[in-house]
Amino acid sequence: MTPAVEITGVARRFGSVQALAGVDLAVQPGEFFGLLGPNGAGKTTLISILAGLTHADTGTARVLGHDVVTDYRLARRSLGVVPQELVFDPFFSVRETLEIQAGYFGLRDVSAWIDELLHHLDLTARADANMRALSGGMKRRVLVGQALVHKPPVIVLDEPTAGVDVELRQSLWAFIRKLNAEGHTIILTTHYLEEAEALCGRIAMLKAGRIVALDSKQNLLSSFAGLTVRLTAERLPEGWRSRVLRAEGRSHLLSLADYAELERLLAALREHAIPISELSLQEADLEQVFLRIMARAH
């Protein structure tokens, strides 16, 4: 089967910064795929190359088998992208914005689909409002509408819920899930890791332009099944600092292999007379997996 997205050996340098250092990735049709990584990891550069906004130095990118450079018309027609930045054209209303975007893709008579989009994005009441008059969350939803207006089989969402309130976020995800159930391939980047955990079947993690993890969500969660301990103490004994995933003031988030290791940690704290003011165990979730992978990847 032709992959929905196929990226082979893609590298891109901006001056002295190696934004992407040889990325290979394939996303199958119908997948809900997560692309995660810290700021500057290369996620947006990768999406930009896929969308034809940036040229790769080396490597190829294909959407449903169409090369994004040599066969760009079919590649772009197959792809819908929700950009990260909150951009809009201040001259037009919401409906005009969607009609114009559909027209760029050669589509006419799309009023029924636009009405449906407006309904799902809870924008029907603001359809004739100028884009300038919308809140940030509404503008974000119009961006989603623009990406979907030509019914692309592959949809890339680059931080789609930033600035969107919780209720609308839920309705947006319900709509995206519906599209995924209808066969659309979804590629999601987000900083809300609980969203990625709830939605994505497979996940790639990027760091410094390289893929450092690529697996199903279940495999990622089970491969990092150790204990995560949050404790509040003045300091940690020597030899335990390498286990810290995150530290904020006196609060430390540690990654431990098992309960025996927790017992050794407590013994070391007693031995060094370091009092604990708070201690809690946390179940493994995607955020902890992400933090551990990022901590060990160089």
Partner: protein, 257 residues
């Protein structure tokens, strides 16, 4: 919902027209008023002092086609350049870059949009100034040809400026240090035969001069240069700029990183 391959440029062209139409007070009425003020002031001051085409044409009548063409050129440039730079700076150019529009699609849409605005403003200037001087339309097709080519050239220059500029400052420099001097020194307000020989010679290197002179020929049947020569020069200039712009768009220069 069946896609019509290759028709996206029509929407971009429509969007470009809708964009200036929505602010028509600024994009159409204001330049018409400016041209009218030029006519009132210059004709009042110079009507009795300047003789053009050996006195066969009144100065005010001579001025009208010049002002019309100047408005066509300046507004065609303003449309494509401001549309592109605004889209670049606000980031909404991404909506044009993501769809399957070819370099030729983008070129055609932006330049045709610029031509429409230039010609609409030029027609407006003609309508409000024609009452001040008796005009003839000796060769209207020649006038139309130069108006179309001139607006296409300035629309293309606007596109190049919009692609090249990263901020409004740079666009203003392009406009103030290149477009404006070339327009004002092109014979809008005078016949080059009234200039000293050095400046006459220099004027022949200004492509805008041929556009204005050829356009004026369409009204009076009189020109500083044979209209066929002007048409050939203007057409060649238009083709060269078109090729340059298509190369820039093909490479994604300053548009696609």
């Amino acid at each position: 919902m069946t896609p019509n391959f290759g028709s996206g440029w029509l929407t971009l062209f429509y969007k470009e027209m809708l964009r200036f139409w929505k602010v028509s007070f600024q994009t159409i009425l204001a330049p018409v008023l400016t041209a009218l003020l030029y006519l009132l002031i210059f004709s009042h001051v110079l009507e009795s002092r300047v003789s053009v085409f050996d006195g066969r044409v009144r100065y005010t009548a001579f001025l009208v086609p010049g002002l019309v063409m100047m408005s066509v050129l300046q507004n065609a440039f303003a449309n494509s350049s401001s549309s592109l730079i605004q889209s670049k700076i606000t980031g909404n150019l991404i909506f044009v870059l993501l769809p399957p529009l070819s370099p030729l699609d983008m070129y055609a849409a932006y330049v045709l949009g610029a031509m429409v605005r230039g010609i609409v403003v030029g027609a407006g200037v003609l309508v409000v100034t024609v009452w001040f001087a008796p005009l003839t339309f000796a060769h209207p097709l020649w006038a139309a040809a130069f108006a179309l080519l001139g607006s296409a050239i300035l629309g293309t220059l606007g596109l190049i400026a919009g692609i090249w500029a990263d901020k409004f400052d740079q666009l203003a420099a392009f406009q103030n240090f290149l477009i404006m001097p070339l327009t004002f020194l092109s014979g809008v307000f005078y016949s080059i035969h009234t200039l000293p020989p050095f400046w006459q010679g220099l004027s022949h290197f200004n492509p805008f001069f041929y556009m204005i002179d050829g356009f004026r020929y369409g009204f009076f049947g009189l020109s500083d240069i044979a209209p066929g020569v002007s048409l050939a020069i203007v057409t060649t200039f238009c083709i060269l700029l078109t090729v340059l712009t298509l190369v820039l768009l093909q490479r994604g220069y300053k548009l696609r990183h």
